[in-house]
Subunit: 160 residues, 2 copies
């Protein structure tokens, strides 16, 4: 199927900016923060991955070690272009992120997402990927918009 | 009782460095990160408060708006010197933090702390202050060291 996950390169910035807008899941502030974290990632503060299908970037992920933990990581952002959705780009990216975390000695990944009804597909994606709900902060983002916390324990640490 | 809560000043750095070590609750990495956040706070990235009794700094708190939320705040650090513990310095600092959040238009405070048995006093402090447990990430900090998430909804928004 010609789909690969690779490290993010500076040239991917424009693709990522476009997909963050096109996927229509993110507010202006979210897009701005996501792009700030891409820049910080290029400086080494976060790990960045992209998924490519037939030479086209179709998604990216931004993750990083959780400070003050022995081996937990946060998956901060994961975004797939409308064209890449439903074609397995998200699953491939998620698998690449897990491989990266394991290779770095990590053993669990935490993600935070919205409890809003229109995020049900996102939550199902994480549940299907093996994440369990471990927390729910009522009205965290705004009234009627809870923060849901998911965690996945990775089996078999070390590089795979 | 001569106890006041006031804004943090650059001159308070040394007191804070000492109390982070003396309170014996924090690892070297935690002390380093806490001090980095004090510097960032002095640059305006976080809000910093100290509590003083009889002219002596007895505790400090570091808090900030939670990104991507309408009105949630994180209370990142709260630390009281051994001399200030049991004398209400923590409660006074906590009340000062809530007042600051309300005055800035915030309406809820989230804190993360350890689930280890030796943190029971800390958790009791938050529960007594009106925080409710909203999440628990198993083995987040390290094996047998969960992350517990607490949240307090502040009643009556606006400056008080």
């Amino acid at each position: 199927m010609g789909m690969i996950v690779r490290e993010f390169a500076a040239e991917d910035r424009d693709s990522v900016r476009r997909m963050l807008v096109d996927c229509q899941a993110f507010s202006e502030e979210e897009v701005r923060i996501a792009l700030d974290m891409v820049e910080a990632g290029l400086q080494g503060d976060y790990s960045l991955l992209v998924v490519e299908a037939d030479g086209q970037v179709q998604g990216y992920a931004c993750l990083g070690r959780a400070p003050l933990t022995a081996s937990a990581w946060y998956l901060y952002w994961i975004c797939v272009t409308p064209a890449g959705q439903g074609r397995g780009a998200g699953r491939m990216l998620q698998a690449g992120a897990e491989q990266l975390v394991r290779a770095a000695g990590g053993d669990r990944i935490v993600i935070e997402t919205s409890g809003r009804p229109d995020y049900e597909r996102t939550r199902r994606f994480y549940r299907n990927a093996g994440f369990a709900e471990v927390g729910r902060i009522p009205d965290f983002y705004k009234p009627a918009d809870d923060c849901m916390v998911f965690c996945k324990v990775l089996n078999g640490g070390g590089a795979t």
